[in-house]
């Protein structure tokens, strides 16, 4: 897992790729045991996090994460025969993150910028190498990463920043279109240049 994605992949190429990547977007799925005593604490913290806006921003501050979910799995669903019921020793934490790669840099960001959060969520597992440092954490993730399968994204050639930038540009354009209808040419040019200045970070 040491190659950096090729430019073809970034342009949305659809050559056969592992189930972890498409275009610019990567998917990391982990399914790791948590001690049952810890589950209520973790569940409560996650419930609280949903209602605190700061928590969402804290998670997303890196600007390269698009969709991320944590799911505490207490028991595996059972559908009757021929499925035998699975009784696991532990609860499991299902984690799926969709982000701009490569995954190693993603983990560096977590390890160096929000190590406490990482330790809080995964530290009560087993043999979890608490960051920092980042390298043992990456080895742990490589070991646990669920690979394979098929991955889909509705806009794989765009990164999180590109998406946000495009949305912001589209939002600002509405006002400019309205102005083009009511302003004289010289005034419009001023407005147009103001518009470009405000969205230049996205162009």
């Amino acid at each position: 897992m040491t190659t950096i994605e090729s430019p073809d992949a970034r342009d949305g190429g659809t050559t056969a790729l592992p189930g972890n990547q498409l275009g610019r977007i990567f998917c990391l799925t982990l399914f790791t045991p948590i001690r049952r005593q810890w589950v209520p604490v973790l569940a409560a913290a996650m419930w609280v996090a949903k209602w605190i806006p700061f928590a969402q921003k804290h998670i997303l501050q890196f600007n390269f994460i698009r969709f991320v979910r944590w799911t505490i799995v207490r028991d595996l669903p059972h559908n009757g025969p021929p499925q035998e019921r699975d009784r696991l020793n532990y609860a499991y934490l299902f984690f799926e993150s969709n982000f701009d790669g490569p995954w190693q840099h993603y983990i560096d960001a977590f390890a160096y910028c929000i190590p406490l959060d990482i330790r809080f969520v995964w530290g009560r597992g087993f043999a979890f190498p608490s960051p920092p440092p980042a390298e043992p954490l990456k080895k742990w993730i490589a070991m646990n990463s669920m690979d394979g399968g098929s991955y889909y994204c509705g806009y794989p050639q765009a990164s999180t920043r590109m998406v946000k930038g495009a949305l912001a540009t589209g939002d600002a354009l509405g006002g400019l279109i309205a102005d083009s209808e009511r302003l004289g040419a010289d005034e419009f040019k001023v407005r147009y240049e103001q518009f470009l200045s405000s969205v230049q970070g996205h162009l």
Partner: protein, 476 residues
């Protein structure tokens, strides 16, 4: 059980539930000094010798090749500081993976070298952005084919000394049937430290811990308090603690210590095309041609950083080694002074937005030890078809994490800087001429078309062993 009792209230002890995980290696005590005599010379300190020859050898006979290495050993320059004056010549030697294989290094040992080194630069061209005229199929002969086994770099104070050593090497290698020279480039520093685009080059080099060389302000990494700190030795030399606080992954003994990985890229610069483009587009750019060129690079020609002086070059800054590299990007998140997509900001983002005060650039520094090659193109002259450019050489302990991150993610793409798929305007290799650079301003200026100004003529990934490892290679 011991730990449980100690845990609470012991100040500094790990909290109750956190036992040391079994797979977390213990941190090694930091080395207070580097073993300068065992590290080859030009890694931790640059040479001032203006002339250099980069000689790629193919090993024709393994036994004789090892004997040649053995004979060269006493001539190889180590990192020990020179007492009085610099020697008139210096020699370093490095090996490609193919070279180590050819010498007969056992498979189990070869397997401990990192993947990107084993694959070689040519195999990774796509992800590095080496496309079109820069693709391996177009490279100079001898590079990227697996034939290049050994790189001997010779430094000299003048041509006479350089020629003498080259001749010696050629004779010893060829007459004994040990090796054949398959590619060679001769380099000579241009006046005033300029490069072929007319810019003062090589200003920013990492300040490295333990070298005894004092870094200048701005050379290290931001220290979080508005100042600078040295970069961990292990980012550049194996066997020392790196920025992660652990020993970097290293190949097996004897290669595990005091060695480093080397990246060689011969970058041909299209001086006439660059000048023409800056003139033509500079005529449309409100700041003029010189400012346009500065926006592309991130510094004025004399080295003044745009971040320090965005309106004009400042001789007080460029003449002062303590100021020429002392700047931050924190007050310039929109790139109005130094564009996010400019060359130096891409190569070394420092504390740019998104890099968390430098915490996400710590592990992506490289030491550059290149030299310009080829004759100067006089100002105003038309393209003379001569080969000129930069022999780019850098050292790092992880080619993937350091060099390749810069090349593939920061130069061949722009998303980390919010500029999407835009490639580096100075050395990027666009697929066609539809590339552009957005130069922030009120309003912004779109620099397009953006022709290719640099072509890669060939490159290799190499391992530069310690003196101990070289002795082992000569003898095993």
């Amino acid at each position: 059980m011991q730990k449980r009792r100690q845990a609470v209230g012991s100040g500094g002890e790990r909290p109750l539930l956190q036992r040391r995980p079994l797979n977390l290696p213990r941190r090694h005590e930091e080395q207070s000094e580097v073993e300068a005599a065992d590290i080859q010379g030009n890694v931790l300190r640059g040479y001032s010798h203006p002339m250099a020859a980069y000689i790629f050898l193919r090993i024709d006979d393994v036994v004789k090749g090892k004997a040649l290495i053995d004979r060269m050993l006493p001539r190889i320059t180590t990192g020990q500081p020179w007492c009085d004056t610099a020697p008139t010549t210096a020699i370093q030697v490095a090996f490609t993976y193919a070279g180590l294989q050819r010498l007969g290094v056992p498979d189990e040992m070869l397997a401990t070298f990192p993947e990107e080194f084993r694959e070689g630069m040519a195999a990774r061209a796509e992800s590095l952005g080496d496309r079109g005229p820069s693709a391996p199929e177009q490279w100079e002969s001898g590079l990227g084919t697996g034939e290049a086994h050994v790189l001997v770099t010779v430094w000299a104070v003048d041509n006479e000394h350089l020629d003498a050593v080259r001749e010696e090497l050629r004779q010893v290698g060829a007459s004994a049937g040990a090796t054949t020279v398959i590619n060679e480039t001769r380099a000579e520093a241009l006046k005033h430290g300029r490069d072929h685009f007319g810019f003062f080059d090589g200003i920013s080099q990492p300040a490295v811990e333990g070298t005894g060389v004092q870094g200048r302000p701005g050379d290290g990494q931001p220290n979080g308090a508005g100042g600078w700190r040295d970069v961990a030795t292990g980012e550049f030399v194996l066997g020392y603690v790196d920025e992660d606080g652990t020993l970097p992954d290293a190949p097996a003994e004897p290669f595990h210590r005091n060695g480093t990985f080397m990246v060689y890229r011969k970058l041909q610069q299209h001086t006439a095309a660059f000048r023409r483009s800056m003139e033509e587009q500079g005529a449309r750019y409100p700041g003029g041609a010189e400012m346009l060129a500065a926006k592309v690079v991130g510094r004025w020609r004399d080295g003044t950083p745009l971040s320090t002086s965005p309106e004009a070059p400042d001789a007080d800054v460029s003449a002062d080694p303590l100021r020429i590299n002392d700047f931050s990007y924190m007050d310039d998140p929109k790139g109005l002074k130094c564009p996010m997509g400019s060359h130096i900001r891409r190569c070394h983002p420092r504390d740019s937005e998104g890099f968390f005060g430098g915490r996400l650039t710590n592990r992506h520094r490289i030491i550059r030890r290149g030299r310009s090659y080829g004759p100067v193109l006089p100002k105003g002259a038309a393209d003379d078809g001569q080969d000129r450019g930069l022999v780019f050489v850098c050292f790092n302990t992880s080619i993937w994490r350091q060099f390749e991150t810069i090349q593939s993610l920061w130069l061949d793409d722009g998303d980390p800087f919010g500029v999407g798929p835009d490639k580096d305007p100075l050395i990027g290799c666009p697929a066609d001429e539809s590339g552009k650079m957005t130069i922030p301003g009120k309003p912004p200026f779109f620099l397009t078309p953006l022709p290719r100004f640099v072509t890669l003529r060939g490159g290799e990934y190499l391992f530069q062993p310690s003196m101990a490892a070289l002795r082992w290679l000569a003898d095993f």
